[in-house]
Structure formats: structure tokens, C-alpha cells
């Protein structure tokens, strides 16, 4: 028997490409959820590899909270251009203006939760039957329970107590009208795997991931960007620091890390030495012990 030694990154890449090809084969209108963060960038890169030399068989969907770093939007537009992909933007501001959601108020106001409504509305409007996301099981304890093909009912809800069995690599994407699937090709990747893969493949990354000087302020032991969309308490002083993003989301919930990492090698070193998880810098997970599960049940990413 031929036993070929294969590295963990090659094995993970092969698995993810397999999942993406299954998504393209089993669904009529799949879409990639693109946030501008490293995970959705890697998923898009893998999809590009999976179907080369054909173009991506999926459009990219960006749910725009209106509170994005400009760098994220610039990167997104350049990527779409380079891949010749189709971009669809779902606007949270529009959902607010239409009265579909009500904006939170106060110092901790965030549009993170509101995104769910915009996402489900956009999925319905475009008749998407599968939304491909960059969620990873190592990120968070509710995500640790996700299937590769994760069923959503007609209300977009996840039922974690009664998920379909998922055997071997046989994915069952069958559904009734109005239901859809979430597909997570990089389920089995860790944060370290993602950065090592970016390094090996030399994938260009948004500048936010590397160290830069930024106006920031401290809240609950975290550094946040001093931007108008986060109201500051009178005691919160703005200072200038050398920081980088460890995750990229909406500005209001993206914690910045004090860092001098200039290169992908520096970032890998930093993560290897890190004693805190990446979601430790996400304000949206800290709302309760099962904050992520509660949002996921409602149809969150």
C-alpha cells in the first residue's frame, strides 16, 4: 500500500477544496459570505483554487454594517476586481432605515447583532440556498459543534440539539423550499493553520493585520479604535499606539492588539507565543456565556 506522508496544511487544504466543490455541485445558488477578515479571505482563495481555471462559481456577499475600516472596503474591492467575481452588498444601514431593525444605543451599542436580519433578508431576496462562511470550530465553543453542511430552517435558525448526522465526507445538502444551508469549508483549521497557510501561499492581506500607528482608547482591558461610531465615556482617553487587528469585524467589536508584527512571519511568531484566544478581543462574544450560540440559533454567521 502506498502511504504518502502529507502535511497537515495539505490535508486541510484538500478537505476544504472538497467541501467547496460539494457546495458548488449540490446547491443552485451558493454564495460566499465575505467579511474582509482573514478567514473569508482564505475561503475565497481556496474557492479560486478549487475551480481554476474557471471563475468562482459563487458571488461574494458582504454584510456591511456601515462601521467598517476603510482598509477593509478597499481590500474587498481590489479582490473582487482581481478575481473577476460578483459582489453583493447587504447594508445594515438600509435595514435600519427601512425599520427592519432598531439600532442599539449607549456606549456598548453595536450593529453586530443587527447583521443577522440584513443577512437573512439578503439571502431571501437573492434566493441563495447556501451561504459559505469562514467560521472555524476552534474559534468558539458553539462553533465547535458545527457541521460542514449546517442546515437552517425557513426562519434561518440553527437547531444545535438536533443536527443532521454527518458521516465521513458524505454531505447531505437536501432541503425543503425556503430552507438553506451554511457551509463551513475551513471548519477544521485553527488560527495558526490559517496564518501558516497565508504564509505558504503568500496571500496578500489587508494592512490592518500588520502593525500600524492608530488613535485608540482602552475599555474593559481592550484597545478599541477611536472612531466616531463608538461613543466614548468621559473617562476614556484617546492615545496613539502601535497596534494590529487579530480579527477583523465591524469597528465597534474589533479589539486591537498592541503589536510590532510587520510581516507574516512576525504574526506567526506572535500567535505561537500568545496566551489569549483571538475571540478574546471580540466584544460581541462577551455579552454572555452562550452569546455565540444564541446569535447562531437566530441565524448569525
Amino acid at each position: 500500500m502506498n502511504n504518502h506522508k502529507i502535511t497537515h496544511l495539505k490535508e486541510l487544504e484538500a478537505e476544504s477544496i472538497y467541501v467547496l466543490r460539494e457546495a458548488a455541485a449540490q446547491f443552485e445558488r451558493p454564495v460566499i459570505l465575505f467579511s474582509g477578515g482573514k478567514d473569508s479571505i482564505v475561503v475565497t482563495h481556496l474557492a479560486h483554487k478549487a475551480f481554476y481555471p474557471a471563475r468562482l462559481p459563487f458571488p461574494l456577499l458582504h454584510i456591511d454594517t456601515g462601521h467598517n475600516f476603510q482598509e477593509t472596503l478597499d481590500y474587498r474591492d481590489a479582490l473582487v476586481e482581481r478575481l473577476g467575481a460578483q459582489l453583493i452588498v447587504g447594508s445594515v444601514q438600509e435595514s435600519i432605515d427601512k425599520g427592519r431593525v432598531k439600532e442599539e444605543t449607549g456606549y456598548y451599542a453595536s450593529r453586530n447583532k443587527l447583521q443577522t436580519v440584513t443577512l437573512l433578508d439578503t439571502i431571501e431576496q437573492h434566493h441563495f440556498d447556501a451561504a459559505i462562511g469562514g467560521a472555524r470550530r476552534d474559534e468558539e465553543k458553539a462553533r465547535a459543534k458545527e457541521r460542514f453542511f449546517s442546515h437552517r430552517d425557513e426562519f434561518g435558525q440553527w437547531n444545535p440539539k438536533n443536527q443532521r448526522p454527518e458521516l465521513w465526507s458524505i454531505y447531505n445538502g437536501k432541503k425543503a423550499m425556503g430552507e438553506h444551508f451554511r457551509v463551513f469549508p475551513i471548519s477544521n483549521w485553527t488560527e495558526m493553520d490559517v496564518w501558516q497557510y497565508i504564509y505558504l501561499e503568500q496571500i496578500p492581506m489587508p494592512s490592518l493585520y500588520f502593525t500600524h500607528q492608530r488613535e485608540v482608547f482602552e475599555r474593559d482591558g481592550q484597545w478599541l479604535a477611536a472612531e466616531p461610531c463608538i461613543p466614548r465615556k468621559p473617562t476614556e482617553q484617546v492615545v496613539s499606539k502601535q497596534v494590529r487587528c487579530r480579527t477583523i469585524g465591524d469597528i465597534t467589536c474589533t479589539g486591537l492588539t498592541l503589536s510590532t508584527a510587520h510581516s507574516l512571519e512576525d504574526i506567526i511568531e506572535e500567535i505561537a507565543a500568545s496566551r489569549v484566544t483571538e475571540r478574546g478581543s471580540r466584544a460581541d462574544d462577551k455579552r454572555s456565556e452562550t452569546a455565540m450560540e444564541d446569535r447562531k440559533k437566530a441565524g448569525y454567521f
Partner: protein
């Protein structure tokens, strides 16, 4: 980049699952592995410490690291499989922490189906229980190359060698009756940390390795593939562009063996043949395709190939092509399986309708006997059935290839996955 970090770029991956009866300490074992191998981050540990205190737990409850769902934390049980990740300087690991309750057996099978190794936990105070047998039998049916029986809570039986030997003997009797070979035994205390990462000071009579050293050194079988080249075709890549106007690539993940440019290949079930013109991924030509790589294959001739077909080498033993097969199944659904019922039969990429032609026999987990004359299968039953399919299936015996020998049954009324099937013949 530091050499230590560079070293992490080319590690091997071991996927293992933990199983066993309720309260045998699976989640605690995983918590212990992560904790002692320093794979838990500070914020995770702080969250678990705080949650343990608020629940009135005396010690830090390591199970809270993996039981992530609200219902699981409320009830203190595991409902669905949770995946955890850690690495040592020698290997990377993916753990599937599976539930012990019988009603969540489908989730145990989900976690175990992709594993290279299965750890079955046994509570030293209770010995071999019904779920120990069920999970051992399922692990063996799933063809998991290595089964490790971790006899846990040794601290609660005074680290007694006699108790340990008694359980080993009882387990061996059961496994021999079921013809399960190659089982390893390790006495541990997940709660106290004995023989998990560090060797135990309390059990000098145990001469083997601690669990983690075993996981770091156990040979990595052949990763779900077989000896002969198989490529279930997932998707046909046809670019609509002037530059690649004639390109036609067959996309799939290799499920065994090897393939090189110039090899003669056959398409099944049609039997048409051609020659491999090019193997690539992302435009990068590969000298050889082998499991478990995802590849794109171009052929010299324009022949009819579509999703669900299987590419094989003409010069190798061929897969079987049949409409009547015998399958070992685990039944997952509350609706019973009845003879003559119809289901959608899904292999990795092919799909057809199938009808249950017979329930040949069912394994009684308590008596270990095979029962014949079975009228229906109920949830969590393990049995051999006969299946007749609408179109021919291309397959290998499950014992020869865990990918091309596997199938699932889907209820056409509800779209639910109702059974896992391992093809015998």
C-alpha cells in the same frame, strides 16, 4: 522565522474521537489533554473557572471547556460532538468529543466516522457497560485502525492493578466475541492527570506509555483511502473563456492509490477509457495524485463523464458494480426502518434510489448475539440489511476502502440522514 515555528509547517495530522458511557469522563479527559499540553488560553481558562465557581463545582470543571451548548451546560451532558484542536511539537491533533448517551449515538458516529483512532473511556468503578460495547462495536465497524481503551477514574479505586486487570479481562472477552482485534489499554485519571500527558506516580505497575505519548507515536494508517486508485468525480470544470475554451477538468478528491500522467483510466459505471493528459491543482501540474489530495484531472479524449462517476486505473483491480448489496448500518431515526422502504442512497458523490430488500440480522448489544427474524430497525440499532438500488452502485468493500465503501441513507420525505452504511458486498 524561528526554526521552532517553521517546524510547525510540516506536521502530520491525527484525528481521534473519544467515546464511552455517560459520565465516564470524556470531556474531562479532553480538558486534561488540552490543559496539561498547555493548549488552553488564559481567557478560556478564566471563563471555565468562573463558570465552575458559579455552578458550585469544587475543582475547576474541565468538562466545561468542551460542553459549549447551553443545554449541555445546564444538564452537564454532551449532546453533540465538539471538535477541539491542539498540537505538540510532534503532531497536530483534531479531537472529536462525542456524546455518551444512547439517544445521541448518531452524533457519536458522526465524530468517529472521520477518525484515525478511537479512545473508549471506561469508568474503573463500573467496568464494561452497554455503551462501552456499543461504541467499541461501532468503532470497529467504522474501520477505525486503532482502538484505545482508557480505564478512567483510577483514583477512585485506589489505583488498583487488580481492578484494572479485571476490566481488561472483561473487555477482552467482549472484543473477542465481536472479533475486534488490536485494542490498547491505559489506566488513567483524567481528573487528577495520571497517565494522560504525564506518567502516573500512583501506578508503578503500569509499564506502558501515557496516553499522549501513545497518540504522538501511533502509526498513521492510510487516512480513509484504499490501495487502488479511486476518484469519485465531484464536479466538471468547464471555464467559459477564450483562453481555456477547450478545458475540461474532472474535479475530485483521491480516495486511494496513486495516478500519474499517461496512466490509462476507466470511467465507471460506463466503462469508457482514456489516458491521463494532466493532473493539476490551480494550474500547478502534479507528478502524481494520491489520497487524500483534491485534484483536477484532464484526459486525452473527450468522453462522457459527470458527477457521481468514478475514475479508476485500467491496470488495477476494479471496484464492484452491483445493484444488490449487503450493508452494515447504524440506524439513526425515530421512524423505524421497515423492509421494502425506499431511501435515497448517497455515496460520496453518486446518488440513486434504493429499497430495503431484507433485514438480514441485528446485533444485540447486551447479549452480543446476532438476532435474525427482525421485523424492523429502531433508533440506534446496528444491523445488516440487503439493499436493491435503482441504478448500479460503483463501490469497494468498506473493509478495503472507507471512502468508496461508505454510503448514507436519506429519507426522501424529510431529507434527514437516517443511516450510516458500510458496504460488505
Amino acid at each position: 522565522m524561528l526554526d521552532s515555528t517553521r517546524g510547525y509547517l510540516d506536521m502530520e495530522l491525527l484525528r481521534f474521537s473519544t467515546a464511552g458511557s455517560v459520565d465516564d469522563g470524556k470531556s474531562t479527559l479532553i480538558g486534561r489533554l488540552l490543559y496539561d499540553s498547555k493548549s488552553i488560553f488564559e481567557d478560556q481558562l478564566e471563563a471555565v473557572e468562573a463558570a465552575s465557581r458559579s455552578r458550585g463545582n469544587e475543582d475547576v470543571n474541565l468538562a466545561l471547556l468542551t460542553d459549549g451548548l447551553r443545554a449541555e451546560r445546564e444538564q452537564g451532558i454532551t449532546i453533540d460532538v465538539a471538535y477541539r484542536y491542539f498540537a505538540t511539537p510532534r503532531r497536530k491533533f483534531i479531537i472529536a468529543d462525542t456524546p455518551g448517551h444512547i439517544q445521541y449515538t448518531r452524533n457519536m458516529v458522526t465524530g468517529a466516522s472521520t477518525s484515525d483512532l478511537s479512545i473508549i473511556l471506561v469508568d474503573a468503578r463500573h467496568g464494561v457497560l452497554e455503551q462501552t460495547v456499543r461504541h467499541s462495536y461501532i468503532s470497529w465497524l467504522l474501520g477505525i485502525p486503532t482502538i484505545v481503551v482508557a480505564i478512567n477514574k483510577m483514583d477512585l479505586v485506589d489505583y488498583s492493578e487488580q481492578v484494572y486487570n479485571g476490566i481488561v479481562a472483561a473487555y477482552r472477552q467482549m472484543s473477542e466475541t465481536l472479533h475486534i482485534p488490536n485494542v490498547e489499554f491505559i489506566p488513567i485519571s483524567a481528573k487528577k492527570g495520571d497517565n494522560v500527558v504525564n506518567a502516573s506516580e500512583h501506578m508503578p505497575w503500569y509499564k506502558g506509555q501515557p496516553l499522549l505519548s501513545f497518540l504522538e507515536t501511533v502509526p498513521l494508517g492510510n487516512k480513509l483511502g484504499g490501495a487502488h486508485f479511486r476518484l469519485p468525480v465531484q464536479y466538471v470544470i468547464r471555464p467559459i473563456s477564450d483562453q481555456f475554451a477547450d478545458f475540461r477538468g474532472y474535479a475530485g478528491r483521491v480516495a486511494g492509490g496513486t495516478l500519474q500522467t499517461g496512466d490509462r483510466v476507466r470511467v465507471l459505471p460506463s466503462g469508457l477509457e482514456s489516458t491521463v493528459a494532466r493532473i493539476s491543482l490551480y494550474g500547478n501540474e502534479m507528478l502524481q495524485a494520491h489520497a487524500p489530495l483534491s485534484v483536477t484531472i484532464e484526459l486525452a479524449d473527450d468522453i462522457d463523464i459527470s458527477r457521481g462517476d468514478t475514475l479508476v486505473r485500467s491496470d488495477e483491480p476494479q471496484p464492484l458494480v452491483e445493484r444488490d448489496i449487503r450493508v452494515d448500518i447504524c440506524w439513526f431515526n425515530e421512524r423505524p426502518l421497515l423492509p421494502r422502504s425506499k431511501y435515497i442512497v448517497r455515496q460520496p458523490t453518486a446518488e440513486t434510489m434504493g429499497m430495503v430488500s431484507a433485514i438480514n440480522h441485528r446485533r444485540n448489544i447486551n447479549t452480543l448475539e446476532q438476532e435474525t427474524d427482525v421485523a424492523e430497525l429502531r433508533m440506534n440499532d446496528i444491523a445488516e440489511i440487503g439493499l436493491r438500488t435503482a441504478s448500479p452502485l460503483v463501490f469497494d468493500r468498506y473493509a478495503d476502502n472507507r471512502t468508496t465503501g461508505s454510503l448514507i441513507l436519506i429519507d426522501p420525505d424529510t431529507n434527514e440522514t437516517v443511516a450510516a452504511g458500510m458496504i460488505q458486498l
